[in-house]
């Protein structure tokens, strides 16, 4: 029984230590809401054992305490952000200590075999390291689609480079404003001057650009 459990537990411990970047950021988002309740729980049971992937287990057995000296409270060496207590086996702790300066990537690889594992039901454990402070956060690859990046960049760079004109009267924004008309947008996102879009809706009830059904309630001014 003991040996059969060991393999998977080693695996699980690895996944806790080496939280993937995705799970890390997800955890960060979730942690605000969970933090208070969790810290209360951990205060009363200052030492817990880590057994399972934290993402998959919601079962916490608070009746079982840390069974032996193999368990070390990491709060001694890590000031955990949310004050929840995180306990990892000694070998892993050493591994983490060695890698402290190296950022999240290094920790991802820390996988230390253990000789002995306590038989404890799975716990939910949230690992938040204070050494991953804000100055390290840019280390997390935040994936934004390239087209979004370039679109935003062009908008930020030259808003005046975007030529806005009414596709019906063909007047540009300056001509529209000079003649006291208003630039309007439809709910489908197409831009016209107020005179033209009202005339178009009166004659057809559809967006001249995409043919979506429109009424005069479906347009609004754009304050450029």
């Amino acid at each position: 029984m003991f040996s059969s459990v060991e393999g998977s537990q080693t695996e699980d411990a690895y996944s806790i230590i080496g939280l993937t970047k995705a799970s890390y950021s997800r955890r960060e988002r979730n942690s605000r809401t969970r933090r208070s309740s969790r810290s209360r729980v951990h205060d009363t049971h200052s030492v817990h054992n880590v057994d399972e992937d934290p993402l998959e287990n919601t079962c916490i057995d608070l009746t079982v305490d840390a069974p032996n000296e193999d368990v070390i409270d990491l709060t001694r060496s890590f000031s955990v952000i949310d004050s929840s207590v995180v306990v990892l086996p000694l070998a892993d702790d050493i591994g983490l200590e060695r890698r402290r300066g190296s950022g999240r990537r290094g920790r991802r690889r820390s996988r230390t075999p253990r000789s002995r594992r306590p038989e404890v039901p799975p716990l939910e454990v949230h690992v938040l390291h204070s050494d991953d402070s804000s100055d390290e956060l840019p280390d997390i690859p935040f994936e934004v689609p390239q087209e979004v990046v370039s679109a935003n960049a062009s908008l930020l760079k030259s808003p005046e480079g975007v030529k806005i004109s009414c596709p019906i009267c063909l007047d540009d924004i300056k001509q529209i404003q000079r003649s006291n008309r208003q630039v309007m947008s439809t709910i489908c996102g197409h831009i016209f001057c107020d005179v033209c879009i009202k005339a178009a809706i009166a004659s057809q009830n559809v967006c001249p650009s995409c043919r979506k059904r429109l009424t005069v309630r479906n347009i609004h001014p754009l304050f450029l």
């Binding site: 596709p167 009267c169 063909l170 178009a200 559809v206």
Partner: protein, 156 residues
């Protein structure tokens, strides 16, 4: 011309300044709402090598209503009848005031590349197209040579 909407003036100026490849549209000297149009038959189509003369008229309601367009040159096409009238949705119920002379003529040129015998205007031509497409295309090619050769256009 007095009272000519600014939109029409702008469109005309742009048509002159940036002409569309294979399309010319010149306003009539007497009537700025009437355009003399010549569309080149698209390559890879039975109309290739032909120059098709059309007339285009912008009605009073334009751009809230579609321009009136008609082929002056005879053409063998399932969506164009003997009188040169064109069966094209954007000239009818699918008209949008955001469309322009330029886009209308491009659509007509595209219609020459892609005849649609399932929505016919001339039933006999469409029937010919559906029963024997090769023969119909041959006929269209002959008509192009017969009626739409470059030197024929000016004689209309």
């Amino acid at each position: 011309m007095a009272g000519l909407p600014r939109r029409i003036i702008k469109e005309t100026q742009r048509l002159m300044a940036e002409p569309v490849a294979g399309i010319t549209a010149i306003p009539d000297e007497q009537n700025a709402r009437y355009f003399h149009v010549v569309v080149a038959g698209p390559s890879q189509s039975p109309y290739e090598g032909g120059l098709f003369k059309l007339e285009l008229f912008l009605p009073e309601e334009y751009p809230m209503s579609a321009p009136k367009v008609r082929f002056m040159t005879k053409i063998y096409h399932p969506n164009i009848d003997k009188l040169g009238r064109i069966c094209l949705d954007i000239l009818k119920d699918k008209w949008s005031p955001a469309l322009q002379i330029r886009t209308v003529l491009l659509s007509i040129q595209a219609l020459l590349s892609a005849p649609n015998p399932d929505d016919p205007l001339d039933n006999s031509v469409a029937e010919h197209w559906k029963t024997n497409e090769k023969s119909a295309i041959d006929q269209a090619r002959q008509w192009t040579q017969l009626h739409a050769r470059a030197n024929n256009v000016n004689s209309h």
